[in-house]
């Protein structure tokens, strides 16, 4: 119930921003020259919306690692970004080999990357733990032989709120 006090101007104070934003980027499997492009677009968008720099930094670490995983392992994928007043949601989904055992993949140091990918300095088994450390909420669904869907949630108005929804 809302009580309106006569004579006082009613103001609506919205926490955070009010703009909504939705965009999508293709991620091409195997094309390392474009790895990071989708994440750089996310960074640009968040800067435009004046999101707190600490949140932008964490978001970008998580999205970059997810993007690189698509490039290193999958055939092709999409990064779908939705931003509203309280949350940044980034979904990265791909058509690819999937992850046999997500729990095992989350263990730092575990990697199935090819030696070519490792020589470039990728595939050290740190990607998923970087995502977990930096995302407020991380959800991974994978079907071996079909593909993987990763959902990263970032809270714009306090990290705890989204964390508790886990």
């Amino acid at each position: 119930m809302r009580i309106v006090v006569p004579g006082r101007v009613e103001t609506h104070i919205l926490s955070g921003m009010t703009e909504r934003m939705h965009f999508e980027h293709n991620i091409v499997g195997g094309d390392f020259t474009r790895a990071g492009y989708a994440s750089s677009q996310v960074k640009k968008a968040l800067k435009t919306l004046d999101v707190d720099m600490a949140i932008i930094k964490r978001t970008v670490v998580a999205t970059y690692e997810a993007e690189v995983n698509v490039v290193a392992h999958a055939c092709n994928g999409m990064m779908i970004v939705d931003i509203d007043g309280s949350t940044i949601q980034v979904v990265i989904q791909d058509e690819g080999p999937g992850i046999e055992d997500v729990e095992q993949a989350m263990v730092e140091g575990f990697s199935t990357a090819s030696s070519e990918v490792r020589e470039m300095g990728f595939g050290a088994g740190m990607g998923l733990s970087n995502m977990k450390k930096n995302a407020d909420s991380l959800h991974i669904e994978s079907e071996p032989g079909k593909g993987t869907k990763v959902e990263i949630l970032m809270a714009l108005d306090g990290r705890e709120e989204v964390r508790s929804k886990k």
């Binding site: 050290a124 740190m126 990607g127």
Partner: protein, 111 residues
């Protein structure tokens, strides 16, 4: 301290990204594992590495690093140089090893 100051003090080669020589340097990070840099490097740091491919610039840009120093005579790939110019993040070079250049860099930054 700026990237340009470091170039002068350590006699580094500036391969590309000259527009970024005025960037302020806050510290450094040394690693050849990209996810390690992604997870641990921070804004304004100089990254010492032997990786020369374009993804180095993607990371330098996403992490707002001040510059990249390639060790033991490594040179940036052509598309790395191109992105360095675009992002105005200098790629520098030295014949020193990662150990030697990092030692000098640490002394210089913490003087």
């Amino acid at each position: 301290m700026t990237v340009g100051d470091i170039v002068q003090a350590l006699e580094l080669t500036v391969y590309c990204g000259k527009k970024g020589l005025e960037r302020r340097v806050t510290g450094g990070y040394v690693s050849d594992l990209l996810s390690d840099v992604m997870g641990h490097a921070d804004t304004g740091q100089v990254w010492v590495t032997l990786q020369t491919h374009k993804n180095v610039m993607a990371i330098a840009s996403l992490k707002d690093l001040a510059a990249v120093i390639l060790v033991t005579g490594h040179k940036p790939d052509e598309n790395t140089a191109h992105q360095s110019e675009e992002e105005a993040i200098p790629v520098l070079g030295t014949h020193m090893s990662a150990f030697d250049v990092t030692g000098k860099l640490y002394e210089l930054i913490n003087k």
